[in-house]
Amino acid sequence: MNLHEYQSKFRFGEFGIPIPRGKVATTPKEAYEIAKELGGFVVIKSQVLVGGRGKAGGVKLAKSAEEARDLAAEILSKTIKGLPVRKVLVDPGVRFNQEIYLGITNDRAVGKPVMMASSEGGVEIEEIARTKPEAIVKEYIDPCFGLHAYQVNNIASGINLPYDHWKQFTQIAMALWQCYLASDAELAEINPLVITDEGQLLAIDGKMIIDDSALPRHPDLAEMRDIEDEPEAETRAREAGISYVKLDGQIGCMVNGAGLAMTTMDMTKLYGGDDIGPANFLDIGGGASPEKVAAALRIILSDPNVKSILINIFGGITRCDDVARGLLVAYEEVKPDVPMVIRLQGTNAKEGRQIIDEANIPNLVSASTLTEAAQKAVEAAKGAM
C-alpha cells in the first residue's frame, strides 16, 4: 500500500525526523489560510499516488498567501496521470544548498533491508542508478540485529557528508530505520533530505510503501488507505477478497491463481496485437463459489472498456464442474451482455464444459485450450468494437 507524501512525512515526523511544518488543504481557501500562517512563502504540492508530479505541474512555489490560493485552485483542478487531485500539501518554502537521497527498501535476493543514500538526491533513485551509479552508497541491514550506528557512519562517509551534519544524519537514519521497522514498510524514502541554508537537515519529500500482508497488525496504517485515490473497482475487489488490477485493454479476465492470471492477460495481448489486450488482472483465488464468480463478473463489467470476457480456470483442487455450475448461477444474477469465453481445464474439465455447452447461452462459449480461448476472446472483442 502506497502512502501519500503527507502521510509518509507526518509519520517520519512522529519518529523524530525533521519535516516542514506544512498542512493539507482540500480547497484554495484552506491553502490560503495555511500559507498565511506559514508566512506566505510556500510550496503547493498535489497529493496523488503517482510519480512525476513536478513535471505534470502538480508542484508550485508561491510567494504569498494569495498566490498560494490561486496555485492551489489550479492544482486542485488538475488530473495527473488519470488521477484527479483532491488534496494539496502546503509546506513552508525552504532554501537549501544540497539534496540528499536516503531510503530503506527490502532487497529480495539477499533477504535483507538495504539502506541507500546518495549525495545526488532530488531525482528518483533509479535515475541516479542509471546515470551515476557510483554516487549510491548501500548498507545491508541484518534484520535480526538492526541498523548499526557504524553503518550510518559508513554512509555519511560514503556520500562525503560534512562531519558537522553526522550527528543529525545519524538521528535521522536511525529514526527512518525505526519508522520502516515499526511500519512494516517495503520502502521508506526521504528524497530529498536537504541541508538548509541554516545548516539543518530537513526531509522535504517522503514516500512509504507498506507491506499489505502486515496491514492486519497495523490498523492505524490500514486506515490511511486513500480509497478515493484508487479505481473504485479495486476497492470493491479488495472487499470481496479478489485480487484485481485495472488495466487499459478490452478483454476482461477471470482466472484462478496469480501466475495463470498474468499468463491469461499475456495471451490476450499475444493474440490481440497492438489494439487488443487485457482489461484487468483478476485472480479469484482458490475455490470458485457462485458469489465470488458473480462478484468478479460485476467488477470486470464495471469497466466500460470491456468488450469481451475470458474465464480461465485450471481445476486442481477446484473442480471444473463446480465452477461451471457456479458460473451459471452468477450469470443469471449478473446477466452480462458482452461475449464470454470460458476455458476449463484439469479436474472434471469435461463435465464442466458439458454443463456450459448444455446451458446453451448465446454469449457464452467454451474452449479447451488457453490458446483457443484467448483467440476466441480476441475475436469476440474485435467484433464488439
Partner: protein
Amino acid sequence: MSILFDSNSKVIVQGITGKQGSFHTKLMMEYGTNVVGGVRPGKGGEWFEGTVPIFDTVKKAREVTGANVNMVIVPPAAAVDAIYESVDAGIELIIVLTEHIPVHDMMKAYQYVKASNSRLIGPNCPGLLVPDVGKVGFMPGSIATPGNVGVVSKSGTLTYEVVYALTEAGLGQTTCIGIGGDPVIGTTFVDVLEMFENDPDTEKVVLIGEIGGRAEIDAAEYIKKHMTKPVAAFIAGQSAPPGKRMGHAGAIVSGGEGTAEEKIKALQNAGVRVARNPEEIPDLLK
C-alpha cells in the same frame, strides 16, 4: 529419481486439524505420501483419520516419528513461528504453503534458516510433487506422470497448466516444485536448477517465472555458467504495467526492474528456449 523428496521421506503436517490442512493431508495420503504425523498444540495424543498421530509440538512429532519433512499450513500469524520450530527441531525440509506472511518477519526467518541445516521451500508456494511417489502441498496428483523433466515454478495453477501440458504430450516429470511467489523465499530457482543439474534422472528442465525481482536473471546466469541440461521457460506478466502488484506479493515491476522483457532476454541469452505461451513448452522440449 527425484530431488528433495523420495519414497523415504516422512512427512508431518503442521496445522493438520485446520480446514485446509486436513483436506490436503487426505489428498496427500490418497496419493501415497507417507504422512507420519500432525502437529497441533493441545491435540497431542489424538489421531487424524484414525491413523496419523497428532503431537503438541514439532519436537515431539520428530522424536516419535522420525519425520524429516514438515508441511506448514497454518495462519500467517503463526507461520513464522512454525519455521523456527521446524529448524530447531532439526526438520530437513520445511514446506510453507501459507500466504500473506509479513515480509519483515520473513526476512528474519530467512536469515535463520540460511544459517541452519534445514531447507525451506516457500512461503506462499504450492509445494512439490514426485509423480507416483508422493506430494506435499496443493498440486493435484492427477496431472502428473513419471518421466525425465524437472519443473520449477514461482506459481501455482500456472504450474499445473504446464505439468498437465507436459503429461498430455507424453513428457513425464521427475519432480515438480513451486518455490512461491513471495519476495523473500527459502529456495530459489538457482537452488533447484542446481539440484536438477545434479539429478541423474532429470534430463530436461522447465522454469516458470514471472515479473518482479531478479531471481530469473540469477537463474539465467547460473544456466549459462553451469547447466548442461536443456531448459525451457515461460515468464508470466509480459503485459503487466509497472508499479502494480499482480496478485503475488513479489510480482511487481518497480523502478524499471523485474520486467518480463529483461528476464526473457537474459534467459534466451543463456540458451534457454522461452515460450510465448505455456502450451508451447512441450514442443520446446522435444
